[in-house]
């Protein structure tokens, strides 16, 4: 880790609400996308002439398409309930990182062009013309929001800043101002099938390598199948699982689970990515294109079940949006969705989360976990933001909190939750979600991680926790990178299925 050229917040083991420091993060800007990246997604290559009018008319179009945007821009009363809820505000003290102030960057323009008082008395209601200065603020502060929805839990009207951020990014994209990180990756996912741009043959080599490693390690020939027609399960997982540490350990865990339970499964080279960066942009069409590759792969391979690996935003899109976007799930009436409906086994929820699958197997005795194998670990669990507040697991509300914890407890003996107010639906984002997991935003990422790092410090100091269990590829990459800034060892970061992988009994039972 390089020495930080900014001030890293001091950890106290509890979370303090800072006084505002206007302009503290004003200059922060992630790299904008170049012409090639923008045009690849059908956006203008650079800021277009007359962008002001075009942005306003795009806003008008989105107001007609998204009730959330229309209601949320009208309803805010500036009560202040959200002002201390955002991890980026808590970490940076910049008042424009308070959810209401972040929303107001868009709301001020909405009021100016779409409401009578804003047209007549802009100063009175805080309305502003759309100027270059406002656009700069949009670009800066809408890329300091990870769309984690924590503010929406606390808003008396349920205003979700994620919806506002997505709309702002979509408006900026439409006038030629996109973010390099998100849009470059989205292009790769749409062209090649995963966020890394890793073609099929490279993927096959990687998987063959895992088979050798696991066999050398355990003496059991655990397979990592790809493009196998007729397999029962199609596993869609974030592509980071194929190459990044500690993500790979969870992929090995999924493979061991399927092996031990005797379930035939396959990955797909056509849809080798669960992450859907269309969500970050707020583009329905882009999100749909990426999701459609998964439907195509499921139809092509004839899978009976679609299972999603450890990935927070992916699970939100899969659980909450796939059925809408592509007709996975139930109730779709177009031809291919109907074909998929006939093909899928509806005795399982479609799609299923890997934690739902594994815990069900544990409960039925189809796999056996030896907790003692994890006795060197004292574990805590970080609820991923998009799983916690944008999805569910199992069949009761809050299953997304219960199921991963039950799975962890069935794999380890020593477990401690972090402080209330930092877990479940009140969880803090890791600081790297929503299109911010890029080195040009490292200051935002490190500071935004401080609420989580404070809660972690408490359980590390008082309960000897040495393993932070995660179910999200972005959380894994983010914490591996930023926790060392706070003096934690990056090896304490890992997946829930890494714990399962350690504990699972393969082959002959004693």
């Amino acid at each position: 880790m390089a020495a930080a050229d900014f001030e890293v917040p001091k950890l106290k083991g509890y979370i303090e609400i800072p006084s505002i420091r206007p302009g503290a993060m004003q200059g922060i800007k992630s790299f904008p996308a170049n012409e090639k990246i923008q045009e690849g997604l059908g956006y203008p290559g650079k800021l277009v002439d007359g962008w002001e009018q075009k942005a306003v008319s795009k806003m008008g179009e989105m107001l007609r398409k998204y009730r959330s945007l229309q209601v949320f821009l009208d309803a805010c009363v500036h009560c202040g309930a959200c002002t201390d809820k955002c991890h980026y505000y808590l970490g940076t003290s910049d008042p424009k990182n308070m959810p209401v102030a972040r929303q107001d960057l868009l709301r001020q323009v909405y009021r100016r062009y779409f409401t009578l008082p804003g047209k007549l008395f802009p100063k009175l209601v805080g309305a502003r013309d759309l100027s270059k200065e406002v656009l700069d603020d949009w670009y800066s502060y809408y890329h300091q929001c990870s769309e984690c929805r924590r503010c929406s839990v606390y808003c008396p009207y349920g205003i979700d800043t994620a919806e506002i951020t997505m709309a702002a990014r979509e408006i900026m994209d439409s006038v030629g101002l996109g973010q390099k990180y998100t849009n470059e990756i989205l292009g790769k996912a749409q062209r090649i099938g995963n966020n890394l741009g890793m073609p099929g043959p490279a993927l096959e080599d990687t998987l063959a390598g895992f088979e050798e490693d696991v066999e050398a390690d355990t003496g059991v020939a655990v397979k990592f199948p790809i493009d196998v027609k007729g397999a029962e399960v199609l596993l869609v997982t974030p592509s980071a699982d194929f190459f990044a540490e500690p993500h790979v350990e969870s992929l090995i865990g999924y493979a061991k689970v399927f092996h031990a339970a005797g379930i035939s499964w396959t990955l797909s080279s056509h849809a080798s990515e669960a992450g859907n960066f269309g969500l970050f942009q707020g583009s329905y069409e882009n999100m749909r294109k990426v999701a459609m590759r998964i439907r195509d792969a499921a139809l092509e391979l004839g899978a009976k079940r679609i299972v999603v690996g450890e990935c927070g935003h992916a699970w939100r899109v899969a659980y909450s949006f796939w059925n809408t976007l592509t007709g996975v799930g139930a109730g779709a009436d177009d031809k291919y969705a109907q074909m998929l409906q006939k093909q899928l086994d509806h005795s399982y929820p479609q799609p299923s989360h890997i934690c739902e699958v594994s815990l069900d197997l544990v409960k039925r005795g189809a796999i056996v976990l030896d907790k003692e194998a994890n006795d060197h670990r004292v574990v805590t669990f970080h609820d991923s933001c998009n799983v916690s507040r944008g999805s569910r697991m199992g069949n009761i509300p809050g299953g997304q909190f219960i199921i991963p914890r039950e799975l962890i407890r069935s794999a380890v003996n020593r477990y401690h939750d972090m402080a209330p107010g930092t877990t479940h639906e009140a969880t803090f984002c890791c600081g790297g979600g929503g299109g911010l997991l890029t080195d040009d935003l490292i200051e935002v990422r490190v500071k935004g991680a401080s609420p989580r790092a404070n809660a972690l410090k408490d359980v590390v100091d008082n309960h000897g926790v040495n393993f932070l269990a995660l179910i999200c590829a972005i959380c894994k990459s983010q914490f591996t990178k930023v926790l060392p800034y706070y003096g934690f060892d990056m090896s304490m970061v890992g997946g829930v299925h890494q714990l399962v992988s350690t504990a699972i009994r393969l082959g002959a039972k004693e």
Partner: protein, 242 residues
């Protein structure tokens, strides 16, 4: 009939018209605008009855606000609950004979005004005392509180300090309703009270007071968490399937 009575009669017809048309249009707009994706803030109810309960807890108890900030919750709830009782009490000026339950709550409605005004004062104090709230406050946020406080204090003055001619006022109000105009008492407190109420009605549909109808249409609160079981598709999104 005096010019004053005419002026106030016209003012209230105009205010009522703008209020009803404005809020009606907003409700129409919200209900017509599709919510293309399932975005309930989870954990969320998995049934329609569950959503009704969630909305009821939000509307009556301000559940999310309670989780968020106890000061805003207590002041906000005092104001809104006080306002509710005060408004209910005011039905006595619009009904003849006065409905039984309105008679019953009359004393509560009178003293609820203290709750209402204290809540408003607390909310306003936060706009000066809490640096984060001071930062986000616009002039209109302050004016709105001033207007509501003005309505509350002028009303309380007539209830508790300097009684106005309530019999004539009621005759004026009923006259407005049945188009049989009666003179309005020229009491400055009353005139100020009524003028501020009319102003509030006029700005309602073009201001942040839209949070009242808006909360019913908030997709993060009113959607059922069942995306795997039921397909949710907006009309414009269905076009993409063609």
């Amino acid at each position: 009939m005096s010019g004053l009575t005419l002026l106030y009669a016209l003012l209230f017809y105009l205010a009522t018209l703008l209020f009803l048309v404005g809020v009606g249009y907003r409700v129409y707009l919200y209900s017509r605008t599709p919510a293309p994706l399932k975005i309930p803030t989870t954990p969320a109810p998995t049934t329609g009855a569950g959503v009704v309960m969630r909305m009821a807890r939000e509307l009556v108890l301000f559940e999310s606000l309670f989780k968020s900030n106890k000061w805003i919750w207590i002041f906000g709830w005092m104001f809104h609950f006080g306002l509710f009782l005060v408004l209910a009490r005011h039905l006595r000026y619009f009904t003849q004979p006065v409905w039984g339950w309105v008679v019953l709550i009359q004393p509560f409605g009178k003293y609820a005004s203290f709750l209402m005004v204290a809540g408003l004062a607390g909310l306003w104090a936060r706009r000066f005392l809490v640096d984060r709230v001071r930062y986000i406050s616009t002039p209109s946020d302050h004016l709105m509180l001033a207007l509501l406080l003005g309505i509350g204090l002028s009303g309380m003055s007539m209830s508790f300090v300097d009684h106005t001619d309530i019999i004539s006022l009621k005759a004026f109000v009923l006259g407005l309703m049945y188009f049989d105009w009666q003179p309005l008492p020229a009491d400055p407190l009353l005139l100020a009270h009524l003028f501020m109420v009319a102003t509030l009605m006029i700005v309602f549909p073009i201001s942040k007071l839209l949070h009242a109808p808006g909360v019913f249409f908030s997709p993060t609160r009113n959607q059922i968490d069942n995306p795997r079981e039921v397909r949710h598709l907006a009309p414009w999104a269905a076009q993409l399937e063609k």
